[in-house]
Structures are given as C-alpha cells and as structure tokens.
Symmetry: C2
C-alpha cells in the first residue's frame, strides 16, 4: 500500500482539509504516478458540495492529473519509470461492452468508473482523485504526455481539453468553418484554442464586453455581445458550429438561431435546469444539438498528441494545495483565467 | 389565365367551401398540371384555422399534389404534355443563396415560397394549393412520378414522404440499424416504411396497444407500448435512431434515453409547446437531436425514384373534395389510415 497525502471534503458543507490515506498495491497493469499538478474543475466543487447528489465522503476531488511514473506493474507496456503521464476523468470501465471495445469507454454500458466520488469496480475501494500526492491507475486509463509542453497547462487538458476537443472532432470542424463559442471559462477557452487550431473562423459569444480582449488573446477572430439583440440578429444562420460551454441556466434558442444549414450546437455545459427547445428553430436549417462527455482512451491520447504537435495547453493559475478553498470561492465568481492548477509539491 | 375550381377557407372559423379563381399564364419555365389527387396534411388544417398565425384568406390548402402535365412553357426541359408529375410543399425560392444552389431550397436564406398561404416571389400573386383542379408551377419545383405507382398513394409522398425520408437519409440509416418510430400517423407510417426499406430493424413506439397490429402490417418488426415504464426501461440505449413524429406536446427525455452511443433523435413532429431537454440525457452516449424540414428539389426527386424502385406509397383513404370538412374532423381524432387523399375528379 502507498501512503498518500491529500486534501479532502469530509462533508458537503465543510472546507477541504488535509487528509491522509493509502493507495492500493500495484496490480500487473497498474502504474503509480507521482502527481505534480492537478487541475481544479468546476465539477470538483459540485461534487465536494454534493450539488449533484450521491456524494461519498471523505472525498478527494481532482480529475485533471499529471505527473511522473514512479513504479510500474509487471505487465505494463505503455510506460516506464520516469515517464510523464496523465490521468483524467475515468480510471476504469467494464472493458467488454461495445463502447469499451470501441475505446469510447466514457459511454461504457455499465458506466465508467470516475476518478473520484465513487467506488472502483471491486465495489469496495473508494476511488480518490488528484488533490493528492500519488495515484495508482490501470495503464489503459493513463496517457503519455510530451515533455515539450508546459506541464501545469497540460493538467486541464485531461478534462476541459478533451471535453471540448472531442465534440469539435465529432462535428468534423475543418478549415474555413465558422465556429462560435459561448461561455469563456475553463471549457470555453479550450474550445476557442482548439477551434482556431483546426482552422475555423472563431467568434466568442459572451454576456460581458470585458471578455473581448481576452477572447482575442486566445485567438478568437470576432466577438459578439450575446445580450445585444441587434448584434445577435446579424449572426443568425451564420455558423457551422456553436459550442455551448455555459453551465448557468439558459435557453438553447439564441444559439440555435445562429446555425446555418446543417449547423450543430455542441452541448458540453450542463445547466441544472432543463433548457427549453423550440422545435421550429431545430427544423429550420436542419439544425442539430449534440451532447458530448469527455472522450475515450484513444481520443484522449490523440488530443494530447495533437496538443504537443500544436503546442496547445490551458491558461492556468498555479496555486498551492492550501489555497484550494479560496480558489473554490474565486471559481464561483469566475475569477480565474481560466483554470486553477494545484502544484502538488506544496503537499510534499 | 387558367380558371380553376377549388375549395378554400374564407376565415379561420368557417368550413371550407367551393371557390373559383384563376392561375397565372405560363412563363417560359412553367408547367400547367391537371391535378388528379391532393393529399390532406395536418398542416392544411393548422393553417386553414390560423393556428400558427399569419394566415391569408381566401386560402386553398394542399401541398401533396399529383396529376398530369397539361401544358408546358417554351423552355421547359423536364416535362412534356401527358407526363405524370407532382408538386410538394414549396413552389419557389430565391435560387441564388447557398442552400438554393445546393438544391436544399427548403432552407432558402430568404425563405422558400410555400405552395399555399403566402405570396409568390412577385409579392403580389397569392400562392394557392392543391385542393384545386389545376396548378401552374416552375418546373424546378415539379417532380417526375413513375406511372408504376398507385397514384393516390403517391400524393402524400410529396410532404409526409419526403419529411421522413430526408432525415433518415441524413442520419445515414443502413441495414442492421435499430430504428424506433414514435407516433403512427401520416408521418409515422411513412417513417416505418422507409426505415424498413433501408434495412433497419424497426420498432413502433405508441401510447396505444391497438396500434400494434397496424404497425406490424406496415413492416415494423417490434412494438413497444411507450406508456409502459418497464417496457421502455428495457429499450434504453438500444437504438441508433428514433424518429419523433409526435405533434402533441411531449418531452424528449423518454426518446433520448432509448438512444445508444452516437444515437440520433430525428424531430419532424412539431408540438406547439416547447419540449424540455435534459442535457445530462444528451451528453450520455453522445446523443443528437436533429430537426428536419421536408427536402430539397434534388432529394424529393431521389425519394420519388426510390419509391418507384421499392414500390413504396402511402396508405390512403381516397375522398371526394366535398368530404373535406368531415375529413378534417376525423383527422383531428386520428381516424384515418393514414392519409386522406382528395380525388380531384370530384370537382371537375
């Protein structure tokens, strides 16, 4: 067993506090990762505070994990000690259903095993996440990371990155396409970077004029103030793709209207109230709404390789572990550009 | 000018009554069609009664039109006198925008010209529909019809047929796919026939057990009572495609849940209240909701040729023009298998 230092939520209403526990011994296909950086995803906060229900305590959040391989099980093929590697939102799945054999394990028929806030497939061991010094994971759910990339900026690729990369690929975004991105946060800023890198003409949609300069710094070619009816009207039927990264409650109609013939609204933001959908807006221009959830093992590796090739990482603010409760408060106010990443050296 | 006998709605609340008017002289690319059969679509009733707003009276409904070419303009290429031909939901469009040049004129940027209840593109002439003895239409929006097919059954192909054929093709339904069809009416019965003809394994979803025998007669392989929670639960994540032909108010959630990874909910039924959409159901299995509206000139001809090859027509009840008001009442009670078609000889 490997002793681990971590930060955990002990109840839905208490602050995160230091927490020690043990990781399992390595099985034949497991690796031990010394965690160097762990991204802070909004869903960490949702789950730490039991906002989606069913949370299990004590909970060590974190599913944007990068570090160095410290040990390998005897049948591990992909990694050797010293490699830089990452763990994302899932650490296991049934491995035998069609989605699993297609390497889209995020849609596993039995349900994937989340990196934290659940049980591993033995139904006994608590899965605990990346706000910790070490993690033990089957190599199938661990990814190679190029040493060329700025490592703190790689961590958020494991969730925010793949969550936006996967639907842009599924929608076949290509050079010359017009792509709008709604919501400039952790997901939105990655969506802008990926869409630009794929050759699209990218427009940032935001309710705040103050975001225009930031959006352009990220590579967006245009900015539209989404609260300005006249500006939005001009954009109707202009886009091949709109990426909806807004997690606040909102209707789909204003985004649907922007879509040209065969246009696609990619939904990755998850509002808590169910948005209404005007079917007349949907049949106009043969529009689609497509949901998407992270990515499978194959596509996650592909995304990381693509980022290495294109030198894409997330924009991050590196923090010590001890700052996590302040970071949560600032995240709630969208006061971060665009992701907090914990330097785990602060716990060692 | 060509004198025409017809039936028209004069106000939103009065019954349809006999109505005489004149069609325009033939322009160079126009044809004159002697109408033999005209299908009765639910949207005829919606518009005759101004249920969607903006109706123009007197209104001659009807956009499922078949007959024989009686005269041709001097530059007409596709038709000669005596040919069997059809006119559908649109009779013109701008012809220069991208959707028009792509032959998806139903998504014309300026808006297509409907066959009735609107003005032609001269913004003066009232467009009047198929509950009439003759129609004058530009040949671009007129289709060749094989003489092999039962002509009254062809009329509904021009709306109900293309409305279901087009999204099934767009979703690339192929042999072995599992397709569910919700709603067994004019649209639903065509969706079943097309999905079966494309080689799919077809399940009828209905709130009425009484429809099981009918669905199987149409070729459906399975039947699921959609009000039975246990039956619906068993079908979760099983389908590649669900075709939603339900025009009554309903939620999308029960249909979304049926979709497997990459599954598509094809929306062609248009409820008057906006359905809610659970984004968690959408991101699960990377599901899509896709709207679709009739089909363009190229695909409409393709669909009619496909029907000739596969011997597909709608199941119809042929009625005289004078029966139209009773037919509307029966249509409101879904008391028709599955489309009324007016024999226009009854007006001559």
């Amino acid at each position: 067993m490997f002793p681990v230092k971590a930060y955990a939520a002990l109840t839905p209403t208490s602050a995160l506090v230091p927490f020690d526990f043990e990781r399992r011994d390595l099985k034949e296909h497991d690796i031990l990762l010394d965690i160097q950086y762990s991204g802070v995803c909004h869903s960490d906060l949702h789950q730490a505070r039991d906002e989606w229900g069913g949370s299990i305590y004590p909970m060590v959040p974190g599913h944007e994990i990068v570090g160095r391989i410290a040990e390998v099980g005897k049948h591990v093929k992909k990694f050797k000690v010293g490699d830089t590697a990452g763990v994302g939102v899932m650490v296991d799945s049934c491995r035998v259903c069609k989605p699993c054999t297609d390497l889209t394990e995020q849609y596993c028929v039995e349900g994937m095993t989340g990196t934290y806030n659940g049980l591993e497939r033995d139904k006994v061991t608590k899965a605990q996440g990346g706000y910790s010094t070490r993690i033990v994971t089957d190599e199938r759910y661990v990814y190679n990371i190029s040493d060329k990339l700025y490592l703190p900026g790689v961590a958020p690729l494991l969730c925010a990155g793949i969550t936006t990369y996967s639907p842009l690929r599924y929608a076949n975004v290509k050079p010359g396409d017009k792509v709008a991105v709604a919501g400039l946060g952790g997901l939105g800023h990655m969506a802008v970077k990926f869409a630009v890198s794929l050759g699209a003409e990218v427009t940032m949609l935001s309710t705040s004029k103050a975001k225009e300069a930031d959006a352009k710094k990220l590579g967006a070619h245009h900015f539209v103030l989404s609260t300005d009816q006249a500006q939005m009207k001009k954009q109707e039927s202009q886009f091949n793709v709109v990426v909806d990264c807004v997690s606040g409650n909102h209707d789909y109609a204003p985004y649907l209207k922007l879509l040209a013939v065969n246009g696609k609204l990619l939904v990755v933001g998850l509002p808590s109230e169910e948005p209404k959908l005007d079917p007349f807006q949907l049949v106009t221009n043969r529009r689609s709404i497509i949901g998407s959830m992270i990515g499978g093992s194959k596509e996650t590796q592909e995304m990381l390789d693509y980022c290495a090739e294109k030198n894409i990482v997330a924009d991050v603010e590196v923090i010590p572990m001890q700052y996590i409760n302040e970071a949560y408060e600032r995240m709630l106010k969208s006061d971060v550009k665009y992701r907090f990443v914990i330097d785990m050296a602060s716990l060692k």
